[in-house]
Structures are given as structure tokens and as C-alpha cells.
């Protein structure tokens, strides 16, 4: 388990335990973190689990795949640090990871 912090658009932070090997989206949903909708259930087929990865973590978390980029076209307020949280697998290295959720998903 690693600690992951989600900060919503109002600045409220929620730190939850993420299971290594699960996705960031699943971590959010399983812990009742608001601001992540995941309409398609993690199939990289919508864009409603959009998060912004904090600058300090961008390199470790990595860049989106071409398929994820395609889906990000549909997201709201896309920034260079935008990712779809269903495509981020939690690893040991993510202890302390901080991501922000956008003010709306769709």
C-alpha cells in the first residue's frame, strides 16, 4: 500500500491508501474520492477520470500513451500534466504521490 493524495478543485486534500498494481482511478473510486467519474469503468474509453499530476511527480508517473492522448482530447481543461487516472498503475515508487482533480469531468 502507498499513500496517495487527491486534491480537488476547491483545494481539499484527501490522502488514501493505494494498492500496488491497481490503477489510480480504482484507488479513487474504492476510497470514495469525489471528482473522478470513470464512466467507462477503466477501459480508456471515456475521459471522466481525468487528473492533473503534480509537477514534481510528472516524470515518475510518465506520459500518456497515444490511445490515452486520443481520449484526453475529450477531457475538460487539458493541461500538459493531464492524465487519465485509469491508465496509471500504482507502484511502490508512488508513495506520497499528489494529483489534482479538475472542477468537472464532462
Amino acid at each position: 500500500m502507498v499513500k496517495i493524495t487527491f486534491i480537488d478543485s476547491d483545494g481539499a486534500a484527501r490522502t488514501v491508501e493505494g494498492e500496488v498494481g491497481s490503477t489510480l482511478m480504482e484507488t479513487a473510486i474504492n476510497n470514495g474520492v469525489p471528482g473522478i467519474e470513470a464512466e467507462c469503468g477503466g477501459a480508456c474509453a471515456c475521459s471522466t477520470c481525468h487528473v492533473y499530476v503534480e509537477e514534481a511527480w510528472r516524470e515518475k508517473v510518465g506520459a500518456p500513451s497515444p490511445m490515452e492522448e486520443d481520449m484526453l482530447d475529450f477531457a475538460y481543461g487539458v493541461q500538459p500534466n493531464s492524465r487519465l487516472s485509469c491508465q496509471i498503475k500504482v507502484s511502490e515508487e508512488f508513495e506520497g504521490l499528489v494529483v489534482r482533480t479538475p472542477d468537472r469531468q464532462a
Binding site: 464512466e39 474509453a45 492522448e69 484526453l72 482530447d73 475529450f74 477531457a75 481543461g77
Partner: protein, 350 residues
């Protein structure tokens, strides 16, 4: 308006649950018409994730979502279901006991004894663009589809998106627009490479403007757009004069007209049903699959299949009120096998 189509059952939604319902209804001699807003059969499975794996269909360790849809279509072929695609059901009215009139947004009407709502997460509708304050412009100067190209002649058009719709309309509208600008947030496009190449030729020839960036605000009055604020990828902010905006941001699921059919919805999005036949509060209208709710409900395809089977047993009594229903198995019933078009087993000599 043309004559209504008369049938036993109208199924709203042609996803896997609606498809399997055709099978269960067909075994009991009920004919079904299916209506779906998508241009293809298969619902979410076909639209959202055709290539994705499904591991929890009983007896099928692995299939793709499209594979499941294809297999279901094969399974229900003997029952010759009629599909009405690209149509959204707008109204369901009770006109008899039991008789319903179902009307689509294309003006098509059906008269049926039973309505089965198998609409999953609702109807797929164009996604609002990620721009604040778009609502006042919708349908006036902001359009999610092009019905008549002439409407855009000599207009300054802004098209946003990088998929096939955005590129197709860029190519089609460029010749008649006064000015056309295509805005996409990055230099890669999802659209077919051929369309992308044609678009680039137009851009290089100065026939259209290609802008890499995002629209961040709209300006206008009374629903008429005058300008859009555009933030380009280098961080520069500029204003673009325009008369019409065509945003193509894909589809999203919305409950849609179901919300107006008089059901007391659970959490504003699910239709409560009882669990003996998955019938709604209106006798003769059933809801199966992801769109229904009952205590213990699981949004699984297999649950929707089960719901369809039980629904068909009750629907039979609305379609054939005088007849007694004898429960039979496809494995052993020669009458069911005849309906399925498979040769009945020769009776074993005693």
C-alpha cells in the same frame, strides 16, 4: 406521419441485454423491434470498448465486447429482430390495456403490448465542449451536428476537435465557408490519415486556418456567437471572430428522455423495478440491464441476461392473455428447437 409499426415488443436499446431479450422473447413467440440512438448495434460494448476483453460471461472464459455482440446477433438471428438505429425514443404513452405508443425523434411510431427499457447508461449524446457557458449558444450558433450545410454558407466557422467528425466537416464546409478555422489541442489527429492529409493541404494553401490550442471562452449575445477566446499551445491568448461553432468532443451517456416518462427514479438515473419480472411501476413496461435498480442490483451483463429471461415470462401474459405458458428447455423441447431452426433430435426408440 406514417402508420405506426405494430409489434408485440419494443425494446429501447440494442446493447447486449436488449439483444438477449430478443432471444428469450422469441422462444416464447414474441416479436421485437429494437430502437437505438447509435448508428450501430451493440450499445456501450460496440461504441465505447469494442476491443476490450470481457471475462465474466458464464461459459465464455474470454471474449471481446464486439465479439459478444456478434455472438448475440448470431444467437438471435432465428427471431429476425428489426432494428431502428440512429433513433431516440422520445415518448412512451399508454393507449390501452395493455397497449403502448412509442414515438422516436424521427417521428416513427410503434404500437406494442410491452415496452422493454434496456437503455444501459442512457442515450449517447454529443459531449458538451469543455468551455464554460456554452448553453445559451446551443442550437443557435453552436451545433453538435450538421443537418444542412447551406446554413453555414459565407459564415465564419470554428470547428473544434481532432477526430473524424471534426475533420470531415472541415473538409466539407471549407468550400462554402467565408472563413474556417480548425482548432485542436495537439498536432496529432485521431481522424483517418487521409482526411488529415487533405486538411493539411487546405491549411498550407491558406484555405483554412489550423490552430493548435483550446477554446477557453465564448462571447456573443442572444445566443449568437461573435468571438471565441483561444489559448494556443505556446500560451498566447487571442480572440477569433466567428459566427458558428462546431465542437466535436465525442459522445457521453445521458439518461435523456427516460427521465420524462413518469418513473420515480432512483438517484435520478435508475428505474426501480420489482424482481420477479423486472417490471416498472407501470404494468407492461419493463426495465432490464444497467438502467434498472432493485435491492442488490449488480451492473453485470449476466444479471441483465437473467432479467431478460424473467421479463419474457411475464411479457408473454400481456401478449397472449388467454394462453397458458408451459416452461420448456432448449435442450429437450422440439418446439423450441424448431423456432431456433435447429433440427429436433430424433426420438430414441424405446
Amino acid at each position: 406521419m406514417s402508420e405506426p409499426i405494430k409489434t408485440d415488443i419494443v425494446i429501447i436499446g440494442a446493447g447486449p441485454i436488449g439483444l438477449f431479450a430478443v432471444f428469450e422473447l422469441g422462444l416464447l413467440d414474441m416479436k421485437a423491434h429494437l430502437i437505438d440512438i447509435l448508428d450501430k448495434i451493440g450499445g456501450q460494448c460496440a461504441e465505447l470498448y469494442p476491443e476490450k476483453p470481457i471475462y465474466d460471461i458464464p461459459g465464455i472464459p474470454y471474449t471481446s465486447a464486439q465479439g459478444l455482440v456478434d455472438a448475440l446477433l448470431l444467437q438471435i438471428k432465428p427471431f429476425n429482430p428489426q432494428f431502428h438505429l440512429n433513433e431516440m425514443v422520445e415518448k412512451v404513452e399508454k393507449i390501452g390495456d395493455p397497449l403502448f405508443r412509442v414515438t422516436t425523434d424521427q417521428g416513427k411510431q410503434f404500437e406494442c403490448k410491452v415496452v422493454v427499457i434496456a437503455a444501459g447508461g442512457g442515450s449517447f449524446q454529443p459531449k458538451r465542449p469543455p468551455i464554460p457557458g456554452v448553453e445559451p449558444y446551443e442550437g443557435k450558433s453552436l451545433f453538435y451536428s450538421v443537418r444542412r450545410m447551406e446554413q453555414f454558407r459565407d459564415k465564419r466557422i470554428l470547428i473544434v476537435g481532432g477526430g473524424d467528425s471534426a475533420l470531415d466537416w472541415t473538409l466539407n464546409l471549407a468550400p462554402l465557408a467565408r472563413k474556417l478555422t480548425l482548432i485542436h489541442r495537439r498536432s496529432e489527429f485521431r481522424a483517418a490519415p487521409d482526411s488529415v492529409n487533405k486538411m493539411k493541404v487546405l491549411a498550407e494553401a491558406g484555405k483554412i486556418d489550423l490552430v493548435l490550442g483550446q477554446v477557453t471562452a465564448l462571447h456573443g449575445d442572444g445566443g449568437q456567437l461573435h468571438k471565441a477566446t483561444v489559448k494556443t499551445n505556446d500560451g498566447a491568448i487571442s480572440e477569433l471572430e466567428c459566427d458558428a461553432l462546431l465542437p466535436f468532443f465525442g459522445l457521453t451517456m445521458k439518461l435523456g428522455p427516460v427521465a420524462n416518462w413518469g418513473f420515480e427514479l432512483k438517484n435520478n438515473e435508475l428505474i426501480p423495478v420489482e424482481t420477479a419480472a423486472f417490471e416498472t411501476s407501470v404494468p407492461g413496461i419493463f426495465a432490464i440491464g444497467d438502467i434498472n435498480w432493485y435491492p442488490g442490483k449488480l451492473k453485470l451483463i449476466l444479471s441483465g441476461f437473467h432479467e431478460g429471461a424473467l421479463m419474457a415470462q411475464k411479457a408473454y401474459h400481456y401478449c397472449y392473455p388467454q394462453k397458458r405458458l408451459v416452461f420448456q428447455y432448449t435442450t429437450s423441447s422440439s418446439s423450441l428447437q424448431k423456432k431456433l431452426g435447429v433440427a429436433p433430435q430424433t426420438a430414441q426408440p424405446a
